[in-house]
Every structure is written in C-alpha cells, then in structure tokens.
Amino acid sequence: MGNKQTIFTQAQLDAYQDCTFFTRKEILRLFDRYRDLAPQLVPLDYTGKPAVTLPYELIGSMPELKDNPFRQRIAEVFSENGDGNMTLDDFLDMFSVLSEMAPRDLKAYYAFKIYDFNNDDYICKSDLEKTVNKLTRNELTAEEVNLVCDKVIYEADVDNDGKLSLEDFQHMIIRAPDFLSTFHIRI
C-alpha cells in the first residue's frame, strides 16, 4: 500500500492502529473529521506531534454528538484533563471505544465513568439523579426521580453500600445485552 499521506509518519499510524480499533483509512478519515471542526486550528502535518486541543464547544457541535444528552460527560471523560477539550488522541480514543469493535468490558468501564458525574469512581444517588434527569429532559417530578434512583440502587447494589461500584455496574451490564449495540456511535 502506498504511503501517500503526509499527515502522519508511518510509525504514528502504526501506533494508532495498534492502540485503537480503527484501520488506517478510518484513522485518516477521523482526522479529516477532526480537522473539519476547526480547519484553522488543526495543522495538516502531525508528524511533529503538535499539541492542538479543540475546545468542547466544537466537539459538542458535531452532528453525532450534538443531540446526545450526555455529550458533555462524554467529552469530559475522554479529554485529558477532564474539561472537555480534546486533542486528536482523545478524539480517536473516544470514537474507538464507541465503535462496534470495542469489547463489552471496555465500554462498560467508560459508560461507568460517563455516568459518574462527580468522578468519585462510584455512581452515587446524586449521579443517578442527574442521569435520570438527562434521560427524561428534567420532566419528572423530584419525587419520581427519587423513587427511580432508589429502585435502581436497590436492584443493582450488590454489596449494600448505597452506591454502585464498577462491579455492580458491570454486573448490570451483563444482564442487558443490548448495551453493546446501543453504546455505539457510528462515524
């Protein structure tokens, strides 16, 4: 295959291919998508490893993400310092995890982090309340939200500490086989 592109070195492309689930063509295509968000910020030559970060507003305006109620959390989870601004590495990482080739455990891990709003490695009741509100557009009453969260914790919390740990979450995921196909963004 001819190395006709000049954006990355072959070593960089090999590294990306080894670290994500994408093929070479898909990586280049994703780079084009990344660049389209801000052509003046993103250079065409990544061989020098430039440190370019796109702000969250641009990422959140992508058609694949703009209507997703969790887009802010997704960007925060995958960005390097948790503020939603993503480098190309973070961008590739995000879509690699959300692609259909990622295994269930990896997706469960990141889904857990997305739903963990306060980043304490547990999904506590306040996290759940925020999730429910995002899922229903804030249109349930506070009491209903409370009931729902209590129900979820009651059903899923195996070790009885009042919040969901990663294992509880994974245990729940095993019982929802649709998760693999719904936690998936096609790009």
């Binding site: 295959m1 209507d67 990896l106 009651y154 096609r186």
Partner: protein, 804 residues
C-alpha cells in the same frame, strides 16, 4: 487475577490493620476505600487460575467461620488488608479490581492480562510487569490486549513503545539462535500481517450502505436498524452463492452452450418459462458432458462441478451460520436465573446511535412514560383473578391457538390443491399459449396472498387475547407466523419432490426451478406492495383520517420473517436454478431502498422497547434451524433419493445425482496416484462407523462443557451470596465500631484535654486518611473513622499500659 492479590497475599507484612489503604487518585473530597478485597480473595478461591491456590482455601474457611459470629477478632483486618497496594505511597484507583466475569472466563496462560480490561495501571512496577507480559505474547494477542486497555491514548502509546523496546532488547539479549529463526520468520510474518490488514481495509472500505444505516440508526434507533443489518447480512450470502455458482458452473457452461431457438416474449420475466427455459438460468440447460475447449486438453467435468459447487456452498454456509449464531448467543445470552430489574435498565439502554433531535426528544418522552408506568405499576396485570376469569382466559387462548393452527392447515390444504392443479398444467406441456402460462402464476400469487393476510389475522387475534406482557404477545404472534410459513414451504417441497419429480414430464428439475423463480418474484412484488399499502396508506389514514392512530411503526418481526422466508426459497432453489441467488440479490437491494424510503417517509420511531439483542439472536437461530436445516434435508433427499430426469441436466441418465460422485470414485480406483482419495471416501465419508464415532465425540464434549457450565453457575450463585453477606458484615461492623468510637470519645472527653491527642498522631501515622469527613454519608467513611478510632484505642491501651 489481580496483581494486588498476588503480592499482598504472599507478603505477610500486609496482614495488619495499618495496611488499610484509603486513597483516591483524583478528587480528594470523597474517601472510599476499596471494598472489593474480601470479594477478591473469595473470588480467587474459586477461580484457581494462578498459584497460591492451596493458600486460598484457609482464608475462605476463616471468613466463613467469621461470618456467623459476632466475634470479630483481630483476623478481620486481614481480610480488608489484602487489598492494600504493595506500593503504599501512591494514591491508586484501587476500586477497579478484576472483572466479574472472573468465574466465567476460561483459564488461560495470559490471565494476568485479563486485568487490563477493567483496571488502570497506576504504578511503575505494575507497568513493568504488564510490559513484560505483553512482550511475551504473540503479536496479534498483544495488539488486542493493548487495544482493550482502559487507558488514554498517550498511556497506551507509551506502553506500546516500551513493549516494542523490550521485545527488541530481548531478541538482542543472548537469545541469538532463537532470534535468528524468529527473525527470518518475522520478515514474512510482518508482510503477511500488512497484507491481511490491507485486505481488511478494503473490505471495510466497501462499507456498503454505511451512510444509510447511520441515518436510519440516527432517527429510529438500534431496533429498526437491526432489520436492515440483517438484510445486508443475508445479501452477502446471496452474493457469495451467486459468485461461486457463476464462476464454477455457469461460465464453463457457456463454452458448451446450445443455441436457444425460443423467442423472447415479455411474459417470461414473470413466468420464468419460455425463453428462459433454454438458458443457464435453469438446471435443465446444463450439459452432462465433460467440457473441453481444446482437443485432449484440460477437461472440466460438469457433473462433478455441479454437485461439488453446490455441496461446498452449503457446507460453507453451514459453518458461517453456526459461527455467527454461536457468537451472537455468546454476546447476548442472559442467564435467566439472574433477576433483571427494570429500573436498572435505565443506565444501560440509552441509545447513543440516535442523533436526530426529534428522535431524541421522542425517546426521552418514551422513557418518561415508561418510568411513570413502572412506578405506578400499571403494566402489571392484577394477578389475583378469580378462577372463573382465569378459565375464561385459558379458553380464549386455546380458541386463538386453534384458530391460528386451523388457518395454517387450511392455507396448506389450499396450496396443496392448487399445486395439484399446477401439475396438471405441466401435463399439457405443449400448450404454450398465454392462458396456460398465466395460469402458472396462480399458485405463487395465492401463496403470497396467504403469506400477507394470514399474519394480519394473527396480529388481530393477538390483540384480542390478553397477555401478561406485551413482549409475550410478540413472541406468540411470531411463533404463529413461523408455523404458517414453515407449513407452506413444507407443503410446497412435498409437492415438488413427490409429485413433480415423479411425474413423467420432460425435465422436472427445470419445472421446480421455474416454480421457485415465480414464487420468489411474486413474493418480491408483494413485499413492495405491502410496503406501499401497509405503510404509506396506513400513514395517510393514521394522520389525515383517523388522527388518533398516528403514523405506523415499522413492524420488525413480520419483516424479518419475510426475509427469512425469501432466503429459504432461494436456498431451496439453488440446486434447480443456479442463478437464482443473483436474482434474489437484486431483489434484496431493491427491497432495502424501498423499505428505507418508506420508513423515512411514513413511520415513526418505535414506542415500545424491542429487545434487539435477543431478537437478533432468535432470528439468526430461526434462519439456521428451521430454515437452513430444512433446506439441507430437501437437498439431501433430492440428491440421494430422486431420479434425475432422463433428457436434461448434468445428471441425465444416472440413477441419482449422487451417483455421479460414486461413479467418479470408481473411476479413481483405477489410478494408483489417487488411492488416498478413494481411501478417504470409503473409510470416512461412506462409513457409518466414522460418523458414529464423530457423533459420540461431539456428545461427550458437549456433556463436558455442560457440566462445566453448571458448576460455574453454582459457583457464581454462591459467590453472589457471599458478596451480599460481606455487605451485611460490613454494616454490622460499622455499627459496632461507631458505637465504640462514640464510647471512646466520651471517655476521652471526660478524661481531659491535656494529653496529646492520639488522633493527630494517628492521623500522621495513617496513610492518606480523609480530610473532610464531616459528611455523615458513606458507610466507608464511617468505617474509616471507626478503624481510626480503633487505632486510637490501641494507642490508648499502650499509653495505659505505659501508665501502669
């Protein structure tokens, strides 16, 4: 399976109370210590996947004995202390201990690599260990392991570079002989991998309809998308079949083609007879000769080619279906014993595919409604029905089943009588006028009408009955549809194999091929019409005339069953009409676009939940079990039992199609060079002993795996109980220690404030104790407090001792 476990267990220093580590990596406000440790140790008891197994049991025994007493001896911190990181200074994310699939995953030598699935690497020597492990794996395994790591890209790249450096160092470092061999293998291996990668890329680049699927998924979600993905998958079967048949059977036939002197009228497109009869479309046209273009040159035996091509195609299809089914089942299987709560699905079912604003709003509204209904438990039918009501229900169910089965039987009888009529038409074969040709279309049209309207009747029946859950109604309706379709196909096969084949007509295989062609074509036309009437008109009615109905929803079950029916017909027809898959390919492509346009224009996103994963697996199973296996039996009967027609086709004059193979083997016996083929044939393929041994082996292996599964199920159940018990133990402990702390606090306050507060000493001695512990929430915080209090108590005792 955990790095921590290995080291912590083997190091006796860690069996003390100070080893309790409470550390957080990121935010310092919450302090929760990893409470997985007791589970880990008990999990490791059962997995036995690494050394130290013998040591695990005493621990489990100790824990079991501790559970029942309220005596919590000093041994207790041992259990918690096992979670301690061997590198105590770092603030680790200890909460991501190994995965719950521990009990289910088979033991493997690279067990240590299962950790990276759900665990972040946080310390230096752990990383070195990981790098060492990765370096010792094969390339593809290594790449897979790196891809699976839950780290960000920078970290993964670092690790990858370290691993590559390690590999090159290893190969330099004193393994000269081995490295030479591996190096000379490495060159071609690298080339091969690059080639494989580029092949995979080309396939990926094909990405048929990727954009369309994305748009459909964006607006309608994963459930409707599954229909289109299934359609695309079936298309690949037809493409594959068409390619093989065309290259191996049709192209050679072109060299030995006889001229076609029948004129072409437009009606042939519908009836498949007339002009088409003398073309490569049908079995009858193929020659039975051995084709050779050049005199005494390489020859091509058409008989063997025909039978081997069809056989090979079905064998490959069988394998592909079996593997897909197994993979799908693996991914989507839920153990029915584990109770799945409805509320928990909240976290797992948000469809990230949906990217259309309207669709997102609709989905949120549906979720809202679902939650409200769940909370009010409206869906739950009142279960305390009186005996009379229950009897009435059962009677209604029985009546509906009787009605549906009766309809199916009536439909089959109708098809049977029509087909007898159809056979009479063939007797008057020479009458080639328009009327008799059109009359051949009656059977397909009636069959398609039955296939369209009887399912509607079944849905109506389903609405009449009261089922416990809506999901149950879907299952029952789909089952009835399946029974109907299987019976119709069964009757048709019976008709073809028993009546047409035994009739004295000139070329019965071509007749069967024509019948199937007509059926496929009419089915396709009805599918398009169904889209028009079912969805377009229904939308007009639903929005303009009767607004309460609303636009229709896309009926996934019915559409998928139609696809399976069409594919069954195609598979049956491959033997009699080798190019039929090509026609079906075209028809599937057209159906794809028509359905997509109709969906976008007419339908609304689904309101009720549709268990995509389970239904996809069931449909794949349906495709395999009644459909493909049925086809295989029909083909088997045709090849082994039926006498091919005398005057046409590649097997003319033989006693059965299979006789071509046995004749060939007899010829081969004459040549010494091919004795091994004859040996394989007589000892493996035709010998019953071989198949008997094979079946016994398969049964034994199945039984073994079944026992393993049962054992693991039991283990998983026990472990779950243990987890719950540990949780209760923890609660109990907390209460006790909280009480103790309170008591000590009051005693201390009473004893005076002059002494140096052991609390501050204790806090400097401990590692990473929480600063903000004012919030009362969190059992673990209280436990931390409690253990600190315990330490304080111990200091105090020492002081007391010193005092004395």
């Amino acid at each position: 399976m955990s790095y921590h476990y290995n080291e912590a267990f083997e190091n006796p220093d860690y069996h003390f109370s100070e080893t309790l580590e409470i550390d957080r990596k990121r935010s310092s406000q919450k302090n929760l210590f990893s409470h997985q440790s007791p589970y880990n140790s008990s999990l490791h008891v059962s997995s036995g996947e690494h050394g130290g197994r013998g040591q695990n049991y005493p621990l489990a025994v100790r824990m079991a004995s501790m559970r029942h007493g309220s005596e919590y001896s000093e041994d207790l911190p041992t259990v918690y202390g096992l979670s301690r990181s061997p590198h105590g200074n770092s603030m680790d994310n200890l909460s991501f201990e190994p995965e719950p699939e521990l009990a289910l995953s088979p033991p493997s030598t690279s067990h240590l690599l299962h950790r990276p699935d759900t665990r972040r690497i946080s310390t230096g020597s752990e990383e070195e260990k990981l790098v060492g492990n990765l370096a010792s794996m094969s390339t593809s395994e290594r790449i897979k392991a790196i891809q699976k790591m839950p780290e960000n890209m920078k970290k993964k790249r670092e690790i990858r570079n370290k691993v590559l450096k390690e590999i090159t160092e290893k190969s330099r470092r004193g393994r000269a002989q081995l490295s030479r061999c591996t190096q000379c293998l490495q060159g071609p291996a690298l080339l091969f991998r690059r080639f494989g990668n580029s092949l995979a890329e080309y396939f990926h680049a094909l990405r048929l309809w990727h954009r369309t699927l994305k748009i459909i998924g964006a607006e309608f979600g994963t459930s409707v998308l599954s229909y289109f993905i299934f359609l695309k998958w079936l298309l690949t079967f037809n493409l594959f079949s068409f390619l093989i048949n065309f290259s191996f059977i049709t192209i050679p036939q072109f060299f030995a083609a006889e001229p076609n002197n029948v004129s072409f009228t437009g009606l042939e497109l519908f009836t498949g007879a007339g002009y088409f009869q003398q073309t490569v479309l049908y079995y009858g046209f193929y020659t039975n000769a051995t084709i050779s273009k050049i005199k005494n040159g390489p020859s091509y035996n058409m008989q063997l080619a025909y039978i081997f091509t069809v056989g090979m195609y079905f064998a490959i299809c069988f394998l592909i279906l079996l593997l897909s089914m197994a993979k799908s089942f693996c991914r989507n299987f839920i153990n029915p014993q584990t109770y799945s709560g409805n509320a928990s699905r909240l976290l797992c079912t948000w469809d990230f595919n949906i990217t259309n604003e309207k669709a997102v709003k609709l989905k949120q509204k549906n979720l809202r409604t679902q939650i409200k209904e769940d909370l009010m438990e409206v869906n739950r039918e009142v279960l305390n029905l009186s005996a009379r009501e229950r009897l009435v229900r059962i009677v209604i169910h029985l009546v509906s089943w009787a009605a549906s089965l009766g309809t199916a039987v009536a439909a089959c009888a109708g098809v049977y009588f029509l087909s007898i009529n159809n056979a009479k038409l063939f007797v008057n074969w020479h009458k080639n006028d328009l009327e008799s040709q059109a009359a051949t279309l009656v059977l397909p049209i009636v069959t398609s009408l039955l296939n369209t309207f009887v399912p509607l009747f079944y849905s109506w029946l389903g609405h009449l009955e009261r089922f416990q859950t809506p999901g149950y109604r879907i299952y029952v309706t789909i089952t009835r549809n399946i029974i109907l379709k299987i019976s119709i196909v069964g009757i048709l096969c019976y008709y073809w194999l028993n009546i047409v084949a035994a009739s004295q007509s000139q070329c019965w295989e071509t007749l069967v091929g024509q019948d199937i062609y007509r059926l496929v074509l009419v089915d396709f036309i009805f599918c398009l019409l169904g889209s028009f009437f079912g969805e377009f008109l229904r939308r007009i009615i639903g929005t303009a005339v009767c607004a309460s109905w609303g636009p229709p929803e896309f009926d996934i079950g019915r559409n998928v069953l139609e696809l399976i029916y069409a594919q069954t017909l195609t598979w049956i027809g491959i033997l009699f009409s080798p190019l039929l898959p090509g026609i079906q390919m075209i028809s599937f492509s057209i159906v794809f676009y028509v359905k997509k346009v109709s969906l976008m224009m007419n339908c609304q996103p689904p309101r009720k939940a549709w268990r995509t994963a389970q239904m996809t697996t069931s449909f794949m199973f349906l495709l395999f079990f009644p459909s493909f296996v049925g086809v295989l039996s029909v083909i088997a009967v045709t090849v082994w039992r039926l006498k091919p027609s005398e005057e046409c086709g590649p097997f003319r004059g033989l006693s059965s199609m299979y006789a071509a193979v046995s004749n060939w083997i007899k010829i081969l016996e004459g040549y010494t060079a091919s004795k091994w083929v004859v040996w394989i044939y007589s000892n493996l393929i035709t010998s019953e002993l071989f198949f008997f041994i094979l079946s016994v082996l398969v049964l034994i292996i199945t039984y073994l795996y079944w026992q393993i599964i049962e054992g693991r199920k039991t283990m998983a159940r026990l472990l779950r109980k243990q987890i719950i018990n540990e949780g209760k133990d923890k609660m109990f402990l907390l209460e006790k220690l909280r009480a103790l702390q309170r008591a000590k606090q009051t005693v201390r306050a009473w004893r005076g404030q002059g002494q140096q507060s052991p609390y501050s000493a204790g806090s400097s001695r401990g590692t990473g104790f929480p600063q903000a512990r004012s919030s009362g929430t969190g059992a673990a915080e209280a436990l931390a407090l409690a253990l600190r209090a315990r330490e304080a108590a111990r200091w105090e005792d020492e002081d007391d001792d010193k005092d004395f």
